[in-house]
Structures are given as structure tokens and as C-alpha cells.
């Protein structure tokens, strides 16, 4: 099952994942740290976007599993 995971211990709120894939990665109101807003499996299009977010994360806090 394709899914994206944000490691909350590594995320520091750079917000670049939200810029790359705004439908998948949402930002907490209180500090801008990211969480995955998709419940369940990513569509092939979302998977591509999630991969881009993974590559663009300065903290390498995102993993995408297939």
C-alpha cells in the first residue's frame, strides 16, 4: 500500500512538503510542522507528489512506502 509518513521527531516545520504536495501534507496551526492528511492509500498521482516532497525535505523527515 502506497503511503507517506512524516517522522515527527525529525520534522522542524520547514513547510516545503506542503509547497510540493499541498493535498497530502498539511501543517499544524500551532507550529507549522507537517502531518499526512490522506487517510489510506495514495493514488499514483499523489505518490509522485509525495516522492517530490520526500526529495525536497531539508530534514529528510518524509518517507514514502509502496
Amino acid at each position: 500500500m502506497a503511503r507517506a509518513i512524516v517522522n515527527a521527531d525529525l520534522c522542524q516545520g520547514h513547510t516545503l512538503c506542503n509547497m510540493a504536495a499541498p493535498d497530502i501534507f498539511h501543517l499544524r496551526d500551532e507550529d507549522g510542522h507537517a502531518f499526512v492528511a490522506i487517510d489510506g492509500e495514495l493514488t499514483p498521482e499523489q505518490l509522485g507528489q509525495a516522492r517530490m516532497a520526500e526529495l525536497g525535505c531539508p530534514e529528510r523527515a518524509i518517507t514514502v512506502e509502496e
Binding site: 522542524q12 510540493a20 499544524r28 507549522g32 525536497g56 531539508p58 530534514e59 529528510r60
Partner: protein
């Protein structure tokens, strides 16, 4: 010093050589070693490799930001190399968990959701700054534009009188551009002391006259049942002024200077917000306004194959790591739609710039408006003046330009300032928990 096989390099981030050759010097250093030793400023490691930076920045167990000039804890020298100041510079010179508490209090003012409420403020001040020069056909992008909006916004968010931005402007910039060996060093120290003194007075005033904003939030906050100490709050307010005044300013100046020779790039930045988003990250990566941060190693250790000793000083050069070709192909070219772009311009790890969301918002609006209303501007290179040291902040003192005059779109800056002050004054004051509890 545990290792005898360290690679020794000649490096000083405050030197004219660094300023003149940035970013090229990064490659020379990195090729010698991505973690090398400079004997300047009593000796420090300089990190120029992006991969090593990523690994080491996470290690809060090994790196300390602490600044303890009085020698009460460890005697560490904080985030400036060489050491600067006789007191701690707010939460950036603290380690978790103390540092995390300050950020927990301030994050709700600076998250992406929170900063959006300042959109109309940024719009009004940006418009007014441009209006005040638009009919003349000339401006200084630093003095008349980039210095003003971020500074006034910082005043508003702290809950300080807006017009006071001018009092803090010169010391805030001086403290970042004055090189340690500059004849102006003592003058900078005096100006900084006066600034801190005035801010300290305002912290006292806010104890009896709370206003919406970060100062009152710090005064009302408690950590394990105790209010925060005055010196921690004063240091933090001084930090927020420095961060708020000088970094967005420098990014704007860098971008506008680069776009001088590239008028063809301007229209798309105005019209295509997705492109502007990517370009903003690329300007951040290339110019890296906050060039790096000093740390102290807390114990003998090995990280990413390098050995360090307790007490060693280290300069994390975000700027030079942002030009590492292993992570950023063609690193010295500005590729406006570069992606991915996992740059370290806001730092990495728990000390990520707390104002990053505000900086992006402010920068994008100001750049777009500058390009929309002065589309044919040309920099007057004879009047352009870079900071004497770019080792702390990579910015400009002056960036004059000329353009085809245009028409005003609204009232002048002085009027906008008075209107916004009245609006902010009309907001209800927050609770005064210290008064309630008789502290």
C-alpha cells in the same frame, strides 16, 4: 583536540576574501575536507558539506548553542564565532528543553496559519514605501524599501510602537555587518547596548501595560510554574529584532541585485505564484542571508567519520553547504525553478529559523510588488554597497536604483503608519498574569 589528522584550512567568514569570493570559496574548502579546521578566532571547525551538515545538525546531544559568558554553567560561547556580546542572545543561545519552551510560546505567532493575518499589513506598508518613491523614479532598495517593511512588521508583532523601528534600525544592521577587526566595532557595541537597554525598558513597561504581541506572551508564559526570567525575555526580544530586521531585507536586496541584469526573468515572477514559490527557495539557497551558526561540541565524539573533542567550536556554514554540488547540481547558478531544493538557509534541526514563514510571506509580496511597479528598474552600481562582513548576514547597506516614474496607489508611509498604530492600539490588551499574581 583529539585528532592530529585534521585538515587545516585558511578560513574566516568575516574576511573581505570570503565576501569577495562567495560562494566560490566553498568549493575549495569542501574539496580539502567537508569538515576542516580553521585556526582563526581561537580555532573552529567549519562545515561545508551538506551531507555532514544534515547528520550533525540533528545531534542536539553533541552540539550546544548555549552562551554562558559568566561561566555559570559551562562557559560556552554561543552561536557567534568569535564570541559576541556579554549576555545570552535569547533562545537561539539556549539548548532544549529550555529553548523548546520559548519556541512553544512564540510558535503560535509565527506558524504559517498565524502569519497570514499580517497580509494586509504587509500589503499596506509595501505599497506605501513604493508610493513614496514612485513619482521620483529613484530609490534605495535597502533604505527606502527592504529595511522598512520587515522592521515595522517586527515592531507590530512584538507589540512595540511602530515608529520606533527607526531607533533600532541602525544598531540592528550594524550588529550583523560589523567585522570583528573593524574600527567601528566599539561603536557597534555601544549602539547594541543602547538598543538592548531600550528594549529592556519596554519589557518592564509591558509588565504593567500589556499589548497584543510576543513580548506580552513571553511575560505571561510560565515554565514549570515560574514566569520566564527578564534576561531571557530581553535576549529573546533582541534576537527577534535582529532576525526580523535584517534577514528578509538581505534576501530582497540579493534578489533585486541579481534581477538587475535579468529583466526577462521579472514578468514571470510577478504573474506565476508557483514560480515565485520555487524562486524564493532558490534565492534563499543561493544567498543564504543567515550564513551559518556557531556551536560548541559537548563531549568527545565521532560523527559522520569525523572526531571532535569536548569544547571544540564549530561553524555550521549553511551558505557553503547550500552550494555543495553533491546535493545541488550547478550550485553556483541561480535556477529559479530548481527542485528539489532541500536547502539549509533557515538552518537545520531544532533551531530552524522561527520566522521562516513570515520571511517567505513578506519576501514574496515585496518582491512581486517591486517588480510589478518598477518593472524596468536598473541598479546604480556605483552606489551599491555590500556589508563589510557577510559572515553573519549576507546583505547590503545600500542598493540604489532608477526606474521609469509611476503613479501613487495610496496614502504615504507616515499616514499608513499612524493608521495601523491606531488599529493596533484599539485591539484589547491581553491579560496581565503577573499583575494578577502580584509578581
Amino acid at each position: 583536540m583529539a585528532t592530529d589528522d585534521r585538515v587545516v584550512v585558511e578560513f574566516d567568514q568575516h574576511s573581505p576574501e570570503y565576501r569577495e569570493t562567495y560562494p566560490a570559496q566553498a568549493h575549495e574548502l569542501r574539496e580539502q575536507c567537508p569538515v576542516a579546521w580553521s585556526s582563526n578566532h581561537d580555532g573552529f571547525w567549519v562545515v561545508t558539506g551538506h551531507e555532514v551538515l544534515s547528520a550533525i545538525s540533528k545531534r542536539t546531544d553533541l552540539l550546544s548553542n548555549d552562551h554562558d559568558p559568566a561561566g555559570e554553567r559551562n562557559g560556552y560561547q554561543g552561536i557567534s564565532i568569535p564570541e559576541r556580546g556579554t549576555s545570552r542572545g535569547g533562545f537561539i543561545e539556549m539548548d532544549p528543553p529550555e529553548q523548546s519552551e520559548y519556541r512553544r510560546i512564540l510558535n503560535p505567532f509565527l506558524s504559517p496559519a498565524a502569519v497570514k493575518v499580517w497580509d494586509p499589513f504587509i500589503e499596506d506598508f509595501t505599497r506605501a514605501c513604493i508610493d513614496d518613491v514612485i513619482e521620483s523614479g529613484r530609490l534605495d532598495f535597502v533604505d527606502d524599501f527592504a529595511n522598512i517593511v520587515p522592521a515595522v512588521l517586527t515592531m507590530a508583532m512584538l507589540g512595540l510602537p511602530l515608529a520606533d523601528w527607526e531607533i533600532y534600525c541602525e544598531p540592528a544592521h550594524m550588529q550583523v555587518y560589523t567585522a570583528p577587526d573593524s574600527p567601528n566595532w566599539d561603536r557597534m557595541v555601544d549602539a547594541t547596548m543602547r538598543m538592548v537597554g531600550r528594549l529592556a525598558e519596554y519589557v518592564q513597561i509591558r509588565k504593567t501595560e500589556p499589548r497584543p504581541g510576543m513580548i506580552s506572551a513571553l511575560l505571561n508564559a510560565k515554565v514549570t510554574d515560574e514566569f520566564l526570567p527578564d534576561d531571557g525575555i530581553i535576549g529573546t526580544v533582541t534576537l527577534l529584532i535582529g532576525g526580523g530586521f535584517d534577514t528578509t531585507t538581505s534576501l530582497l536586496a540579493g534578489a533585486l541585485d541579481w534581477l538587475d541584469a535579468r529583466p526577462d526573468e521579472r514578468p514571470r515572477l510577478v504573474d506565476d505564484s508557483r514560480y515565485l514559490d520555487l524562486a524564493t527557495e532558490e534565492f534563499l539557497r543561493h544567498f543564504t542571508p543567515a550564513q551559518g551558526g556557531g556551536r560548541t561540541i559537548t563531549q568527545d565524539c565521532e560523527v559522520a567519520g569525523f572526531e571532535f573533542s569536548a569544547g571544540d567550536r564549530m561553524f555550521l556554514s549553511y551558505a557553503m553547504c547550500n552550494h555543495d554540488p553533491a546535493s545541488f547540481p550547478e550550485p553556483d547558478d541561480i535556477v529559479l525553478d530548481r527542485f528539489p531544493n532541500p536547502h539549509a538557509a533557515f538552518g537545520l534541526g531544532v533551531h530552524r529559523c522561527i520566522g521562516s514563514n513570515l520571511a517567505r510571506l513578506d519576501f514574496k509580496y515585496m518582491l512581486r510588488e517591486a517588480l510589478r511597479r518598477m518593472p524596468d528598474y536598473r541598479i546604480d552600481h556605483a552606489g551599491k554597497e555590500q556589508y563589510e562582513s557577510i559572515g553573519t548576514i549576507n546583505g547590503f547597506k545600500h542598493l540604489p536604483a532608477t526606474f521609469t516614474p509611476g503613479r501613487r496607489e495610496g496614502p504615504p508611509l507616515a499616514e499608513v503608519m499612524a493608521d495601523w498604530q491606531a488599529r493596533l492600539d484599539a485591539e484589547p490588551a491581553p491579560e496581565n498574569l503577573r499583575a494578577t499574581e502580584g509578581v
